[in-house]
């Protein structure tokens, strides 16, 4: 069992990196309803394995590796398997290059960029990301076809991605 100091260190690092861990899990699990559980399970395992972490090494990479196992455990269950990627693909995605997930950097820029969306596109994005509605539900609420929602979401994301990248390239201020 890890010393209280080591446990506190690891938990503190987890909290500092929680948005990144959450972003990593969100990438691999399209079903939002399971993300809370996986992040919490990751935290518990990180705490239990606190002794394995060597101070000064890459905490984020270590936490991602634990989160990856938790994702794989979760997507094995019926209902999740159908929409999650195959384990082999998740391994390929996590294995090759350093993973760049920094939602903490993007969220600030997003606030500005979302404000620039057309009202209906913003409404579709809000329903998808605030209220976790899937496209059929968004279509029902907005009186659109599912196909129209898919197109609107795709266009809105393209706009937001370019807008956020421009904002981040410009730097603070």
């Amino acid at each position: 069992m890890a010393s209280p100091t080591q446990t506190a260190l690891v938990q503190g690092l987890f909290v500092q990196n929680m948005m990144a861990v959450r972003g990593f899990v969100l990438a691999l699990m399209p079903d939002f309803s399971r993300v809370d559980d996986v992040v919490q399970e990751t935290f518990l395992t990180v705490t239990a394995k606190a002794d394995d972490f060597v101070e000064g090494t890459n905490f984020r990479a270590w936490a991602f590796s634990i989160a990856r196992f938790k994702v794989l455990e979760s997507v094995r269950t019926p209902g999740a398997r159908e929409i999650a990627l195959d384990a082999e693909v998740i391994d390929a995605l996590c294995g090759a290059e350093p993973i760049e997930v920094h939602p903490e950097e993007q969220t600030g820029a997003l606030a500005t960029c979302i404000g620039k969306l057309a009202p209906q596109a913003r409404r579709a994005i809000e329903l998808r990301y605030q209220q976790a509605c899937r496209p059929p539900e968004i279509a029902r609420r907005m009186g659109w076809t599912v196909n129209s929602v898919n197109v609107a979401l795709a266009r809105a994301r393209n706009f937001l991605r370019e807008c956020v990248e421009r904002q981040l390239a410009r730097g603070p201020g």
Partner: protein, 488 residues
């Protein structure tokens, strides 16, 4: 690599919309193409940031509400620095910083729900209606005599339907029945926001929830805490300081502070936990259980399924247009009445839709002097267009059904002695009967609905269930169900 097609597949993946073929196609591309994997993470970064921003915007109001209680916030800040910082250190500080980020996200604004007629119309933050219609999620099935609702839309009490509304019950108690069978007992003052049938937010006050098996996973959020049902009856109370307490009457729940994963805790029957959101502390509690509303024993009530909702008290009115929604309402009118004159009823099943001639159900006459218990069935769909709205379901009583009063004259004639004394009924001239094929009105045989279909009412094989398929058209549908009174 076809980047446009990859973009299409990635968008469908992040929305959970991939078909099995598309999923396999995306998987092959990701396995084979390093550039596709880089593109995946580029898209994933935005998707994750959008969801995190969305969650923060959603939680921002709760955080704002706590922050707006200056006395409590200040007291907590002092207490926190004096007693908890040395113990929690950077973990707590980082959690606090994460919470602070929540308040800074300002571009996401919540839509405002407006009721027009019976439908909820959501307007964008600009205030311009955008014709987004929301379904109803729940009906008020009971409330105490002193219940007082405020806010907009103001509730009219028993029989009123709620969409994605934020409702305030200032005094008294009320029971909501959600469309998935979840029962919520509210005790005023309480402020509840329904987001869906699976998810609500308790902004203040107390509620208890009874969650049937089919709705396991039902979630209630309170400021800084979320409670997920795992098959249970539980209660959640938020005191004036914004501090949530959870109690489990039966079964199990999982509760957690979203900003603090280590706070996740499972509570079983009889457990109570208090969540100090400001300090990030969960403590087991054996305090005063009287703060949690008691769920009424529903084992003796008629069982309603499908679109049928049983009201535990009579509504103030069943005049057409009073309560327009998508559910069939049933309520007890009189418990024990001696019929002053004979009443013609129908029984059994009948085929209304097919065949050259209408199938006529069994007719029976209940003689004067029969002691009966009466229930009214009422269906008044939203609006009055010619398009039919279908509602179907069943209600099962604890004793045999003697028959249904469906003829217009029998229905209006029996209102004075079978109707509830506190309920206003339509006058005889405007009373609408069911569109059943064998019935006649003043001008001849009853015509079908616009869809060409007729209403159906059947007595189930057990003799205690009433099965119905009703088509809401231009006016409300009503009929009366008579049971033998107690002791008969």
């Amino acid at each position: 690599m076809d980047t446009e097609h990859l973009d299409f597949l990635l968008n469908r993946y992040f929305d959970g919309e991939l078909t099995p073929t598309e999923k396999r196609e995306l998987e092959l591309i990701l396995l084979e193409e390093p550039k596709a994997r880089r593109e995946f993470w580029r898209a994933a970064a935005l998707h994750g940031a959008l969801r995190i921003s969305g969650e923060q915007a959603w939680g921002a109001r709760a955080a704002k509400e706590i922050a707006e209680r200056p006395a409590v916030a200040a007291a907590r800040s002092r207490r926190w620095f004096l007693t908890e910082f040395p113990r929690l250190g950077w973990a707590a500080l980082a959690a606090g910083l994460a919470a602070a980020v929540i308040v800074t996200v300002s571009s996401w604004k919540e839509p405002r729900a407006i009721k027009t007629g019976g439908q909820a119309v959501v307007s964008s933050r600009s205030g311009a209606p955008n014709s987004v219609a929301d379904p109803f999620l729940a009906i008020v099935v009971d409330q105490s005599a002193g219940a007082r609702w405020t806010g907009s839309p103001s509730l009219r009490g028993i029989g009123h339907a709620l969409g994605r509304d934020r409702v305030r019950l200032e005094a008294g108690e009320a029971t909501l029945m959600l469309d998935n069978g979840v029962e919520l007992q509210l005790r005023g003052p309480v402020e509840l926001e329904l987001l869906s049938v699976d998810h609500g937010v308790l902004h203040r006050g107390q509620l208890s929830a009874r969650v049937p098996d089919n709705a396991i996973g039902f979630r209630i959020d309170a400021p800084g805490v979320n409670v997920v049902d795992l098959g249970t009856e539980f209660s959640l109370a938020v005191d004036d300081g914004g501090e949530p307490k959870v109690h489990v009457f039966k079964g199990k729940v999982r509760a957690a502070m979203p900003t603090l994963p280590s706070s996740r805790t499972e509570l079983g029957s009889g457990d109570t936990a208090r969540f100090d959101v400001a300090l990030g502390i969960v403590s087991r509690d054996t305090g005063d259980l009287s703060v949690f509303p008691i769920l009424e024993d529903d084992s003796m009530l008629p069982r309603a399924t499908g679109d049928v909702r049983y009201l535990r008290r009579a509504p103030k009115s069943v005049r057409a247009g009073t309560y327009e929604h998508d559910s069939i309402m049933v309520f007890q009118e009189k418990a024990d009445v001696v019929l002053p004159e004979a009443v013609t009823v129908i029984r059994g099943a009948s085929n209304q839709q097919r065949g050259p001639e209408p199938s006529v159900p069994d007719l029976a006459v209940l003689p004067a002097g029969t002691r009966v218990r009466s229930y009214l069935i009422h269906f008044d769909r939203v609006g009055a267009s010619r398009d039919d709205v279908r509602a179907r379901g069943r209600i099962t009583f604890d004793r045999p059904v003697l028959g249904f009063v469906v003829h217009a004259k029998s229905l209006t004639d029996s209102d004075p002695w079978l109707g509830h004394p506190d309920t206003t009924y339509d006058s005889p001239g405007s009373r609408q009967i069911l569109e059943m094929r064998f019935l006649r009105n003043r001008t001849g045989p009853v015509k079908s609905h616009t869809s060409g279909l007729f209403d159906e009412v059947h007595l189930g094989a057990d003799g205690r269930s009433v099965e119905m398929v009703l088509f809401g058209g231009l006016a409300a549908d009503q009929f009366r169900v008579l049971l033998a009174a107690d002791g008969n």
